[in-house]
Symmetry: C2
């Protein structure tokens, strides 16, 4: 699924929700899908402004929930005081993250057992699982040993 198909989905989503298709919302969408890695709200603002300089911080913050509810962007909370996001064209929810403490990079990995685990463990408490998250904080052995690694800037 390429960016044009995704943008079309986004426009449809806005329509279905009775929301308007504005230049700012599309600029923010495009910015999100042009960023390769995970990004913060502030980084998204910077990129969106390269497309449409009128985009404001407030609109970015107001648009991010729309993007996540459309499932086109996923939100990742890694326990810092700001959230990360990333464009998520097709993958489902069953992913874990490895957080490199040295690079600050986030690696996504498939974790197909997550749904099963959430179900089996929740049912014991009379609970119905909604979402799971599995995150591993780790150190880069290469960076620790040599003072540099391919992910570190």
């Amino acid at each position: 699924m390429n960016i044009d198909e995704c943008r079309e989905r986004f426009r449809n989503f806005l329509n279905d929700q009775g929301l308007r298709i504005t230049n700012q919302r599309i600029a923010i969408f495009d910015a999100a899908f042009r960023i390769e890695n995970h990004f913060t709200a502030e980084e998204l603002l910077d990129h969106a402004r390269e497309i449409d300089s009128s985009v404001s911080r407030a609109t970015v913050y107001r648009t991010l929930p729309i993007l996540t509810e459309s499932s086109l962007v996923r939100e990742i909370d890694v326990g810092k005081d700001f959230k990360f996001y990333f464009a998520n064209p097709e993958k489902g929810n069953q992913q874990a993250q490895i957080l490199c403490e040295d690079c600050d990079k986030i690696f996504e990995i498939d974790a197909p057992f997550l749904d099963w685990y959430g179900n089996s463990v929740s049912s014991k408490f009379g609970l119905k699982p909604v979402s799971q998250r599995l995150q591993i904080s780790a150190q880069c052995t290469e960076y620790r040993a040599t003072g540099a690694c391919k992910n570190h800037s």
Copy 2:
């Protein structure tokens, strides 16, 4: 391990770190260990003030890192804008949390595979795991059906 043994450990920890044993630190410790469930910094402040009314918010925030570094209290970040803590006399790190979206209650469950999983998945990226977290957000079926459940206040 009861609260008195834990308090003794805390005093020893303070000593070993060259930190002073103050009334406020002990009051905050005692408050943490009298709270049954998970608690926030603000709740800890309230309880600590019942023991020593001079305790300030700043001191609570300054003492919490000491408590977590001593491993007597564990910090849990559930993605809200404040952190939870709980007195952790003996259990290790290999626990997952179930977060009830209706009760806002946190259930701790043993997840002995966490270390193994973190290791096996990190090694593929040349990373050494430091910590893991596995959290399941869930809804209370009883509360959703009847409008009340034993955990809901």
